[in-house]
């Protein structure tokens, strides 16, 4: 049992002035409650689950091979029978491409935010906990990262390291490091002064134990909300890069790339661009709804940084 947990149980104090919750189990409980009570959470979660499952099981569920070209049905608006969402300019089934595209788009989105969150939270925890010189240096580095608009970082990173799944993931995620670092640092600063942190120090716990056992669990609520909101944003970012031809690989079906390919055929076959766009919108909307419900449930204030 961590010191903060002990504090909660004995004194019943809620860490961070009601902003955060003392312990992880409390958080999980809230999570479950939100999911069972909040309509936004229900809708959002179902949408994300649906798209997630479609992505994971795409090889089994997709009606066609996403790369198979059928010359008889180029740009078919065949919305009823064989190709429920029609075909593209090479006669490839759009539903299958959409499902396979979901794999890349969702994985890059999640991976990018995870990358940004892990690095950013580490920087923020260390910076906020140690303060002083360490804090100064790390925060100046964060300022520099912040000074690059995200698309510039992403374009430069893809230009330097080349296209590909991992590179795009890092390129998108890089822009989130500074946001997570700032948020984590701010939380730590408010928690550092909490009684249980002092108590942990006074009973002789080491810095690393205090950071990971006491401080981090108490910063989790706002970080989860930020993670959710940024996942939505990362999916949009990935689609932008793919649309610009700087995504995973031009031939791989991703939502942004499908959209880009359809752009030239808007007049003849609008659905090639419109359908992937709707997929992006519905997914991102689902994640945002879910994030919003979590924000209310965890009582996290909306900040402009997100």
């Amino acid at each position: 049992m961590s010191v903060s947990e002990l504090f909660k149980r004995t004194i019943g104090a809620s860490g961070g002035g009601g902003k955060t919750f003392g312990v992880r189990s409390d958080l999980l409980e809230r999570f479950g409650q939100t999911l069972s009570r909040d309509l936004r959470a229900k809708i959002g979660f179902s949408v994300v689950l649906l798209f997630g499952l479609a992505a994971v099981f795409a090889p089994m569920l997709a009606p066609y091979d996403p790369m198979a070209q059928e010359y008889g049905v180029l740009m078919a608006p065949d919305l009823t029978s064989a190709h429920p969402l029609g075909t593209d300019s090479f006669g490839r089934d759009l539903l299958a491409r959409l499902m396979f595209g979901a794999r890349i788009s969702l994985a890059v989105g999640l991976g990018a935010v995870t990358f940004g969150a892990v690095l950013g939270i580490l920087i923020g925890l260390v910076s906020g906990y140690y303060g002083g010189y360490v804090d100064d240096v790390l925060m100046r580095a964060v300022d520099v990262m912040w000074a690059f608009p995200w698309l510039l970082i992403a374009i430069m990173l893809v230009a330097i390291f080349g296209q590909g799944f991992w590179n795009v993931m890092v390129a998108v995620g890089f822009a989130y490091i500074d946001d997570f670092a700032r948020l984590a640092r701010g939380e730590v600063l408010s928690i550092r002064e909490e009684e249980y942190t002092m108590a942990a120090k006074s009973v002789g716990l080491g810095d690393r134990e205090i950071i990971f056992e006491e401080v981090f669990p108490n910063t989790v609520a706002p970080l989860i909300v930020q993670f959710t909101v940024f996942t939505a944003r990362a999916i949009l970012a990935e689609s932008t890069l793919s649309f610009l031809g700087l995504g995973v690989k031009p031939t791989t079906p991703t939502w942004g790339a499908l959209l880009g390919q359809g752009r030239g055929f808007i007049t003849q076959a609008w659905w090639i661009s419109i359908v992937p766009g709707i997929a992006i919108m519905v997914t991102v909307l689902g994640i945002n709804l879910f994030g919003d419900a979590l924000r209310d449930a965890f009582d996290v204030k909306e900040t402009g940084e997100t």
Binding site: R140, V144, A147, I155, L259, R263, G277
Partner: protein
């Protein structure tokens, strides 16, 4: 106050300098030899070597770096490898369409976000709130370039009310200029407006709970007057700050939207320059964009520090 401003400006200048340095080395890490790209696949090795010499690429990196830094301090961003034009001139040439779209996009976003956000906060949990929040959710969930494609399809292609492609300078008339940037500006403005509306709502809701608002109401002041004079004035501060921070998001949106509408702006130039390995142009573009971004935010910061006496200068971040 003066010391605070000086400190912030110095800080911003250091950030820009580090950004520029990172960009210089990052650009040189982009694989591909600009001389080879410029001369094409079947150029002789001698010709490439000669051109490399000419472009100063054979010198050690640190010599190139210091030469470049000293030029930047003289306001010289170098010359494009590709077109022999000065980088500054090229950037000025494409700045107009980009700034026009970003500017009008920002205006559209604020025009939607502020009234909608206030209504939403005042009519909290009533149908007005649900409609406004729902629409803003849709706005932040769509990629700007896709909104652009949809707008293009409906208004340019089907209805034919505005031209679909290209850009016309405002010097050739305000109406044709607006016609060309209306759709791109909407495409970048809607998602940005969605974010700002949510911020306005939460900021306004917080202000509505403040003591001075209750006092004003208790004094029996007119509701509308309270809302605009006391409420909005205070709620605007975080909104303006956030508008500045989100400029980066807006700029990112403009790049993709320029591609959709075939507009020769900063975004197109940047992407074309990366394809051509045109180092000076890439460097120049990134530095100028970061410069604008950092100083816009600094400006906003100082502005609101000076309007709001509650904010302390100096201490902390």
């Amino acid at each position: 106050m003066r010391r605070y401003v000086a400190k912030r400006v110095a800080h911003a200048a250091v950030v820009i300098y580090i950004v520029a340095t990172i960009v210089f080395f990052a650009v040189r890490a982009i694989p591909g030899d600009p001389a080879r790209v410029l001369l094409g696949g079947d150029a002789s090795a001698e010709a490439i070597a000669a051109l490399r010499e000419d472009m100063g690429l054979t010198e050690p990196l640190y010599v190139q770096y210091f030469r470049w830094v000293s030029r930047i301090f003289q306001g010289d961003l170098g010359t494009s490898v590709f077109s022999d034009q000065s980088v500054l001139q090229m950037l000025m040439g494409v700045a107009e369409p980009t700034l026009s779209i970003a500017g009008l996009g920002m205006v559209i976003a604020l025009l939607i976000a502020i009234p909608a956000g206030i209504t939403s906060a005042v009519k909290r949990y009533q149908w007005e709130d649900y409609v406004a929040t729902g629409v803003s959710f849709l706005g932040i969930s769509m990629p700007g370039f896709w909104i652009g494609i949809v707008l293009l399809m409906v208004f340019a292609d089907q209805l034919g009310v505005v031209p679909a492609f290209g850009y016309v300078s405002f010097r050739q008339g305000i109406i044709p200029w607006l016609e060309h940037i209306a759709l791109p500006a909407l495409a970048v403005g809607l998602p940005y407006g969605g974010i700002l509306m949510r911020m306005t709502r939460s900021s306004m809701m917080e202000v509505l709970n403040e003591d001075y608002m209750r006092t004003a109401r208790a004094k029996g002041l007119n509701g509308r007057l309270i809302l605009f004079k006391h409420g909005l004035q205070n709620a605007l501060i975080p909104i303006v700050t956030i508008a500045g921070i989100l400029l980066g998001v807006l700029l990112g949106g403009v790049v993709a939207v320029e591609i959709v509408f075939g507009i020769q702006g900063l975004g197109r130039l940047l992407i074309a320059s990366i394809e051509r390995r045109d180092f000076p142009v890439i460097q120049g573009a990134v530095i100028v964009i970061s410069f604008v971004f950092v100083f816009m935010n600094l400006f906003v910061d100082i502005m609101y520090t000076s309007i709001n006496p509650r904010i302390k200068y100096g201490g902390g971040d």
